[in-house]
Subunit: 229 residues, 2 copies
DNA sequence: TTTTAATATAATGAG
DNA sequence: CTCATTATATTAAT
């Protein structure tokens, strides 16, 4: 990743004092030991700190600083990881939501069909058998029999004939929400995401237009995350 | 945020060379101007860079570096923002998913009821009107009449009597997924999230146990994010 | 009062 | 330029 002594090989050595006092980069072996130690313990006891420093021919101070910075770095990485996991979960859920919605539509169709058929049968039944009620699906039928299935939804179970017509489903805003999914799209999805928080105005109070930084088709981490990579 | 000259007020001034050569902190006014400029343009043209540097009595180089670092900082902040937005979207979607699932159950109940009623009517009908088919809900009826509603789901629309029974719904794994939602919970949610990526083993290859760093109930940014703050 | 963790920031070098 | 890294300074907490 980096050479052990890159300073002397550079052409412009502005301040040699840096090389004498400040070792700007740790050697590969030093990094390796530090990483190993970090894996076992993200925070060093003063005990092990001085010991590790001696082993690596470093002052305890740079070792401590390295651990501090390492923790900060690791935290940022975790955030990215969490984001990706969450995005994956969102996509999975959105996919299942779509399936469920389609299944729901199928159920509605089936219900319409049955209601229609029953209506027809009722008409036929009058011709055949007089005014005998063909099927008992009035509202009283619901409340008396199977209330335990749908008790928390008073507006969901409306036992009249037209309860589950198609127009009913968007009352919850399903369709509008499913549009903002994070399916492995690219810049468009990021757009949707940001438009939620920035309602199309150019308020830049510490909230600068992100497109200027992440410009489309660059490899910034944020763009990669949103794009699904 | 910081005083313009904090160095001389400190008791321990180890290296006065810092104060002479290295101006370790920009003054408040310099920061203010830089922030203002950053809000209008996240990247400086070389033209404006030298101009701004002259106004602030700085070399162009530190100004350029400040913008670079500022962009990096802003990007990290954006990641946090994106994460929160995504988490909110996930919760919204999960909530709607729950509603839709309940609605689905209501539809299933309704269908069961209708089917039952129709079955009863069929039996009654035989006594009343002989072997005349009461309602036409055979599979042939579906394909011939209303196929446009449910064409992409061959397994969804199964016109037999037992298609939409309760056992059918978990075939898609809805219930298992809805458990991992990010409703404004606390450490528990973070646990769920992490358990997806770390399948309970203690593999630490650059993936140290995050709890050692973020520990439960501390205020690290990741913990805050996951907790919904 | 001293030390340290966390954080923000300045600066450097590699790609 | 971006990105990762080293280092310093400040603040809060012990």
């Amino acid at each position: 990743m980096m050479s052990a002594d890159p300073f002397m090989t550079m052409k412009k050595i502005k301040k040699s004092s840096h090389n004498e006092k400040n070792q700007r980069r740790f050697s590969d072996e030093q990094i390796k030991s530090l990483e190993m130690m970090f894996e076992s313990e993200t925070r060093l006891e003063p005990r092990k700190k001085v010991q590790l420093a001696r082993e690596l021919s470093l002052q305890p101070r740079p070792v401590a600083i390295w651990f501090q910075n390492k923790r900060a770095r690791w935290k940022s990485k975790q955030l990215e990881t969490e984001f990706n996991i969450l995005r994956q979960n969102y996509n999975d859920l959105a996919s299942q939501f779509e399936s469920l919605k389609k299944e729901n539509q199928g159920l509605v169709s089936e219900l319409d069909r049955l209601n229609e058929a029953i209506q027809t049968k009722q008409d036929e039944g009058r011709e055949c058998c007089g005014d005998q009620t063909v099927v008992a699906l009035s509202s009283t039928d619901h409340e008396s029999e199977k209330e335990e299935n749908t008790k928390p939804e008073p507006e969901e179970v409306r036992p009249e004939m037209e309860v589950y017509e198609k127009g009913h489903h968007d009352d919850y805003g399903y369709n509008s929400h499913i549009k903002r999914e994070y399916f492995g799209g690219f810049e468009e999805e990021a757009d949707h995401l940001m438009n939620i928080v920035e309602p199309a105005d150019s308020c830049l109070t510490s909230s600068v237009d992100w497109r200027e930084v992440f410009g489309p088709a660059n490899d910034s981490s944020m763009a990669r995350i949103l794009a699904g990579f």
